[in-house]
């Protein structure tokens, strides 16, 4: 039972096996139950025997003198024999409970005998009582004898009843014996078989237990193993496809399904070549046959795979050939390598760029130790990769840059991961050359710097061409000015009467020629000027400029020009402390342009006011006239090149139309702004604004005070 419970509890499956044996066990149970039934029969046997004997025993009880003078010995002896027989029968019955002797008849007979015995015993007792009463009443002896005779007869009949009961018992005993003999053999056999059954049951249980355990474990192992393999096969990043000897797909995992866009049902039992790009199928077949001729083996090759939708992709096939049930099976592990291919291509491209670019590339580790350099670097510096790898880029230094230069460079690289600029380095042959260098810190995913990459190109030719351009500008300037100088000089001398007095008409013609000559000079100046500003070739020498001084100098320099137009230039009282960081010459250029415009557009007798005002963070320097103002239509384009309000403007003012665009270009370079307000015929104000600079006494300030009133082009320093 324990085993059963354990089985039941532990192994549901074992229950079924155990059930097969439980029939035997149930059989056993029935036997035990029969035993119990038999035991009930013994009890009843006892009761019946007592029912038979007790009346006599009560009658014959010692002290009961009812049966005095009666011959009771016979009965007592019969009873003794009867009890002996009964005991023996009972013992046998007791000893062999499970004999299945049918006892119902026996019991019925016994019941009848017992009832008769009881009846007779009662009659004997009544007769004995009657005899006693007769004897006491001294009745006739005859009547007493009659009673005594009847009693004796009754007692004899009681004896017969006993004898009948005894016969019954003996008979039962005999049948019991016979039954026992029958049973003994079968019982022995059944006990043997019981042992056998128990043994078999136990062995089977144990076996089944072991078996069950094993199967359970194996089952579990098998199940989990199979599941695991399935899980692995279905979830590996590689596609797995098996192909039989005829080249048909036998199985395909989920990854491969996704990879090729097929589901298993669409491709299983179809040729694997469907998964290969048409123009690669011949190659595939060839290799498959070659591999099949080998016993087992593994091979990797690259193919172009073909998806269900017809698109193609690079795949790698790792082929393993095995034998299953003596038949060859190809296992393909398919890897989509298009990413890798792209990466390879990108890498190849990068490598090709690295090798073939005209920019020199230098890669260092985080400590600045050179790890690699490209051919362009070698071409530029003369150092081969072998010569620089393991070295510090310091070997390239020309010594022409200060330590501060390198400090600033490294500060920028550390703070922003980047630096670019012009630097002079030394070639292997000792030649110092200018190069443009762009350094970038390369970081990994964790933000750590893993490399520095320097991309550089030789700008000596660029520099040379810039020099050529500068020279060209200078040459053009010189070549244009030289004849102009002659014309201008000749006209000057003529007009000045050096060669003799001119007629009025001649003098007027000379003045016209002179005016246009001057205008041509200004035009050349302005064009060159704006070209230089815009190409950022113009060098700005930033210094602290006192606006008050600037205004004073501008007025002095342009007062004579004003006089020509009958216009007076005047400074408005303003902030003497105003200072800006700017290039003095360029500010003079701007202010001169604004003053010149104001003068030219002022009415004769007018006044041009120059002032400075503080605006939020800025100084605004304004030039105000009371001329006609700026026509609406012209306002939008006023800072464009060659912009003049109308054709007559040009003739009247003799300007080039470049003045304001030069002013704007200069302001753009200085980080300031330029603008105007105009009220027709009342007031026009052109202004420029520059950031406020805190006052400080500098040498340049002292220098800038030194007056050079007549010729602004002379020393400014």
């Amino acid at each position: 039972m324990n085993i059963r419970r354990r089985h039941k509890l532990e192994y549901l499956a074992a229950w079924l096996l155990i059930l097969a044996f439980s029939a035997w066990t149930i059989n056993l149970l029935f036997n035990v139950q029969n035993d119990w039934a038999q035991s009930n029969e013994i009890t009843r046997f006892d009761q019946d025997v007592h029912g038979l004997l007790d009346p006599w025993r009560n009658l014959n009880r010692p002290g009961n003198d009812v049966l005095e003078n009666y011959e009771v010995d016979t009965q007592n002896k019969a009873l003794e024999r009867y009890i002996a027989e009964y005991s023996e029968a009972r013992a046998r019955l007791e000893a062999h409970r499970a004999t299945h002797v049918p006892m119902a008849d026996f019991f019925a007979a016994m019941d009848e005998a017992a009832a008769t015995a009881n009846d007779l015993a009662s009659r004997v007792l009544r007769l004995a009582t009657e005899r006693e009463a007769l004897r006491l009443s001294e009745a006739a002896p005859d009547s007493i004898r009659l009673v005594e005779t009847e009693a004796a007869t009754t007692m004899a009949r009681m004896d017969q009843a006993f004898q009948g009961g005894l016969d019954l018992i003996v008979k039962m005993d005999e049948s019991l014996d016979r039954r026992l003999l029958d049973l003994d053999a079968s019982r022995r056999a059944s006990i043997g078989s019981l042992y056998l059954i128990v043994l078999v049951a136990l062995t089977s249980s144990a076996l089944s237990l072991v078996l069950l355990r094993r199967t359970a474990t194996q089952g579990e192992a098998l199940r989990s193993g199979a599941e695991r393999i399935n899980a692995i096969v279905n979830n590996v990043v590689d596609g797995i496809i098996t192909v039989d000897e005829s080249g048909n797909v036998k199985s395909i995992n989920r990854t491969a399904e996704h990879m090729f866009g097929y589901n298993a049902a669409q491709i299983v039992d179809r040729s694997f070549t469907e998964l290969v790009a048409p123009d690669r199928r011949a190659q595939y077949n060839e290799e498959r046959f070659r591999l099949e001729s080998a016993d087992t083996g593994r091979e990797e090759s690259e193919y172009l795979g073909r998806r269900l939708d017809g698109s193609e992709f690079s795949m790698e096939l790792a082929t393993t050939r095995i034998k299953v049930d003596g038949r060859p099976l190809l296992i393909y592990i398919v890897r989509d390598i298009s990413e890798r291919k792209h990466a390879e291509e990108r890498l190849q491209l990068a490598a090709s760029v690295f090798e073939n670019t005209t920019e020199g590339i230098l890669i260092t580790d985080p400590n600045g130790v050179i790890q690699s350099s490209n051919p362009a670097f070698t071409a530029m510096t003369g150092f081969t990769a072998d010569e620089v790898v393991g070295e510090n880029p310091r070997i390239l230094q020309s010594g022409t840059q200060s330590a501060d230069f390198y400090d600033a460079m490294w500060r920028s690289i550390i703070e922003t991961g980047h630096w670019q600029g012009e630097i002079q380095n030394r070639r292997k042959n000792g030649e110092i050359y200018p190069q443009w260098l762009n350094i970038n810190a390369i970081k990994n995913a964790r933000g750590q710097i893993i490399n520095y990459v320097g991309v550089t190109f030789d700008i000596s030719e660029l520099k040379a061409s810039e020099r050529i351009k500068d020279e060209f500008i200078a040459t053009v300037s010189h070549e244009l000015r030289t004849p102009l100088t002659s014309i201008h000089g000749s006209l000057g001398l003529l007009g000045g009467g050096v060669t003799g007095e001119l007629s009025d008409d001649s003098a007027r013609l000379v003045r016209i020629a002179q005016g246009n000559c001057q205008r041509l000079v200004r035009l050349i100046d302005d064009i060159l000027s704006i070209a230089k500003i815009e190409s950022e070739k113009m060098q700005f020498h930033l210094q602290s400029v006192a606006i008050h001084d600037l205004i004073g100098r501008a007025i002095e320099a342009n007062q004579d020009f004003g006089k020509q137009y009958g216009v007076h230039l005047q400074a408005r009282p303003g902030a003497r402390e105003a200072r800006v960081l700017a290039d003095m010459d360029r500010l003079m250029q701007v202010l001169t342009n604004l003053l010149s415009n104001a003068v030219k557009h002022s009415p004769r007798g007018g006044v041009v006011l120059i002032g400075v005002q503080r605006r939020a963070g800025y100084w605004r320097i304004s030039v105000v006239d009371n001329g006609p103002g700026i026509p609406e239509s012209f306002r939008e384009n006023i800072f464009s090149k060659f912009a003049q309000a109308d054709g007559s403007d040009r003739r009247k003012g003799g300007g080039t139309g470049l003045g304001l665009s030069i002013c704007k270009a200069i302001m753009d370079r200085l980080g300031g702004r330029i603008g105007f307000t105009s009220e027709r015929d009342v007031r026009t104000s052109f202004y420029f604004e520059l950031p406020v600079m805190q006052r400080q006494h500098t040498a340049s300030e002292m220098v800038s005070r030194s007056p050079e009133p007549q010729e602004p082009s002379t020393w400014m320093e």
């Binding site: 300037s477 010189h478 000089g489 050096v498 010729e711």
Partner: protein
């Protein structure tokens, strides 16, 4: 030291027209004695014989430019005995710094006004000598 009178100017200019105008201007309006040369070599051959008070040099000249001419002339005559002025259209800030470093008195910008050229040169001369005397020269 008494201020010397400016009377003899050695002028080097490759452009003949300008050379003529300057010469006329200086001689007719300034009453100076002018030795007008067309090149450095010409100037070198004249300088001892002419013994100028002042050198007036163009800058942009073929073969030997103004600064180089000045350096060559300085081997024959000192800045004290014959200071120099450049007369040129090449007046970028960087050019001006270079001229200053060469110790010239000033630069006259082309195109110039021939009517005031002599006065301008005289003015520079005066200023030079007054500062020279102020500085204990």
């Amino acid at each position: 030291m008494a201020q010397p009178t400016l009377s003899r100017i050695l002028y080097v200019e490759d452009d003949a027209d300008i050379r003529e105008i300057v010469r006329m201007s200086l001689e007719m309006l300034g009453q100076f004695q002018v030795a007008a040369c067309d090149s450095c070599a010409d100037a070198l051959s004249l300088i001892h014989e002419f013994s100028p008070d002042l050198l007036l040099l163009d800058v942009m000249m073929p073969d030997v430019d103004g600064p180089a001419t000045l350096r060559a002339l300085r081997e024959r005559v000192s800045a004290e005995s014959a200071p120099a002025i450049f007369i040129t259209a090449k007046v970028e800030a960087s050019d001006m710094l270079r001229y200053r470093d060469m110790g010239v008195l000033d630069v006259i910008v082309k195109p110039f006004d021939p009517m005031v050229l002599s006065g301008r040169i005289e003015q520079i001369w005066q200023r030079h000598w007054s500062s020279f005397n102020d500085n204990g020269g």
